[in-house]
Symmetry: C2
Subunit: 441 residues, 2 copies
């Protein structure tokens, strides 16, 4: 098994092709490493400059004269082999090759030459033709855009854009990521290697995958099955349709295989499939935050009747049980809530509600073994909601998730606090309900 | 037909129950009216204060001593009839009743009394138990939250939260709305009245509906059919499932009716159904921006191969034709693009692309009658993309839409400019492709 520890926890990074010119990848990656507050040594390499972005620049890897854990290559493809050869001589064991122009455009001989050198010197290759790697525990973003938020989810993606978008969503959602990997051509390291790393990584609680073709299907499924015993994995694998499959094959130059067979295999090992970037994010998030409830009975508590109905449809369509409220619970709540609240499922506290009404409902409901999980919907910003939910979620094993609608600055702050407290929030009733349905699977 | 002109274009608004206390609805609505830069006369009414939020306050409607086009009522339900009676005596013809506590909690006599007075004095009633009205051409937000962006879409919603969320999304998306209406109990004005207004409103190019129950089904369908000749209408009607329908009936105290029958009726008149708030927004947006293409053949042009595949699956699943590129077009582009670009559908310009590559592709492709519409995907911020797309979209009748991923400040500015130029943008390939599929219907 390839050990990727010196890659992700590299104590020094050289960027071959670092640049002072905005717009160049060699500019952006160096900038992200600096602005991301990477604490290791950074060595910009470029024969044309003495100083790059305020750092001493080196003419070559050799001229650095210090140990290098990782090199990032952005120079044109024809120079890559020479850089690798030099790196190998210096005992560098990890290379992220951003540069494209290898087998993806039919230049198989460049690929072969590069792989020969990598094998000779035992260099781990990420890419080529990739968008790099970001590992937040090491503040090491040799990728773009800069994603700094540290969170429980890692993504391993065929598409650099999907990885980037995942990171952006996670950052905006006040969660962040543990790691982002753009696989590129997978000439060296593949999803297998990264799954092994993140599967054992204590900073990663859930893994999102975006794959278009899978090289070693049997090995992949066996590994995922093992990892699923420890942490959840979700996969976005396009190519469900014939033309989608053809496009995937063309993109990755690999056989995508029948989607039906892949789908059956996923079901067998319990690998959750997402059908969009949003689903990949939502499903990984809820599985990273919460564990499977004891059953599939849900109680909705809402201040917005209409939003409760939207969630109800999704639960019903996804085999989540919109259980009837316990008669005794109804009786108790009827004495504690204003008479215009609707004591049913959804439990509608109506638009004039405050945090105290949610508090009494949750407090009483968790005493009964009538629902296995709760969806709380806040149709307006409700001051004090976080304190209530945070306190009560610690008193129960039943999953509690939150949907915030109606907007406002209060909510953004509350969302942040909820996430820190381990309570996942979602932006619409539909997305919240779909995610909760996945948690029950 | 009820004329709602003096409601939406009111030249003076009195807020009965206006308040200096943050947290009160009477505070928030007055504040939104002021901060929204409403240019008419604002009369806060509250017997306890002389001044409210810097404005002269009045003890009663009568003491205002000037013409009032619209009153907004936030005082408790038991006082509403008296306020309406006073308003009627003063020839006020429009009342937005935010206050709840009427038939939705079984207080039918309060409802009857209120309606009697409204009928006697010919007062249009919005609500009661609603979240108000916002009409941006008049800078008049007697609702919450404050949505100021002026855009082509109106929403008429049973759920105040859905209306609010729609407005927030539209504002964040740099589009805005023409009007937002929260229907509440629909004791007076119903969806029929508002459909009539927005159907003829020159500021509204597309109408979004969120209804849980429809009172006069036949009249509703007939009216929508008429409006559809002039502008698109999209509906989010939850209650697809049995429990969803029961929840809807409980929420609106009306018979929701069979979803299958409603669905068939929608198909018959061409009323598009959305299944989530995001879909309601996306579908209304694309229909408000663009007209139906001549056929259903789409060409994807992307810088992100993976994103192109995600969109391909959605097109294939929604009967949109991922047409093969014209051989002659391939030939032309093969001479103008770098050799590593993939000349197919999706047309993959790869990650190192610039705006010029998009330009040549669109420029050449619109000369052929091979595709009826284009989905452009930008996997990274691409400087100059807006100028290219804006110029070329004016040279063709074929719809062009844009998907921005990968994030960054450049994009937010570009999205704004695209929308101003009438080019709809979407945040994921999946949402973009679903919306384009709707445009073909």
């Amino acid at each position: 098994m390839t050990n990727l520890n010196t890659l992700f926890n590299a104590e020094s990074v050289a960027i071959v092709g670092a640049s002072n010119n905005i717009g160049k990848k060699g500019y952006e990656i160096l900038q992200n490493l600096i602005q991301g507050k990477y604490e290791g040594n950074i060595y910009p390499v470029n024969p044309k400059d003495d100083e790059i972005q305020g750092l001493t620049a080196y003419k070559s890897l050799t001229s650095i004269g210090a140990k290098i854990d990782l090199i990032v290559i952005v120079v044109p493809s024809k120079f890559v082999s020479a850089v690798l050869e030099e790196a190998g001589e210096l005992s560098v064991h990890n290379a992220v090759i951003i540069t494209g122009g290898f087998k993806e455009i039919g230049c198989d001989e460049l690929d072969a030459s590069m792989l020969n050198i990598a094998e000779k010197y035992k260099i781990n290759i990420v890419g080529p033709n990739c968008q790099g790697v970001n590992y937040t525990p090491n503040n090491m973003c040799v990728s773009w855009p800069l994603v700094r938020g540290k969170g429980p989810m890692a993504i391993i993606a065929q598409s650099g854009t999907v990885a980037a978008q995942f990171g952006i969503i996670a950052d905006k959602d006040s969660i962040g990521v543990s790691g982002l990997v753009s696989l590129g051509n997978k000439s060296g390291l593949t999803e297998i290697d990264f799954l092994n790393f993140f599967g054992s990584d204590p900073n990663t609680r859930a893994i999102a995958l975006n794959l278009e073709g899978i090289k070693e299907g049997h090995q992949f499924l066996k590994l995922v099955k093992e990892i699923l015993k420890k942490k959840p994995v979700v996969i976005l694998k396009p190519g469900r349709t014939i033309k989608g499959m053809i496009a995937a094959q063309s993109h990755t130059k690999s056989i995508a295989g029948s989607d039906k067979i892949f789908d059956a295999a996923c079901r067998q090992i319990g690998l959750i499939r997402a059908n969009s970037i949003d689903e990949l994010y939502d499903f990984t998030k809820i599985l990273g935050f919460l564990t499977k409830p004891a059953g599939n009975r849900v109680q909705i508590i809402t201040s917005s009747g209409g939003s409760g109905i939207l969630a109800t449809d999704i639960f019903e369509e996804n085999d989540v049980d919109m259980v009837e409220m316990h008669p005794r619970l109804k009786e108790i709540l009827s004495k504690k809530l204003p008479s215009h609240c609707v004591l049913s499922n959804p439990l509608d506290l109506t638009g004039d509600t405050d945090a105290a009404r949610y508090e009494v409902c949750i407090e009483e409901a968790i005493k009964f073994d009538n629902a296995d999980m709760f969806l709380l919907i806040f149709g307006d910003p409700i001051p004090g909601a976080y304190e209530v939910v945070n306190r009560l979620s610690k008193k129960t094993d039943k999953p509690i998730i939150v949907c915030y609608l109606g907007g406002g600055e209060i909510e953004e702050e509350e969302i942040y606090k909820m996430h820190v407290a381990g309570i996942p929030t979602f932006p619409t009733p539909t997305r919240a309900a779909k995610a909760l349905a996945i948690l029950c699977k």
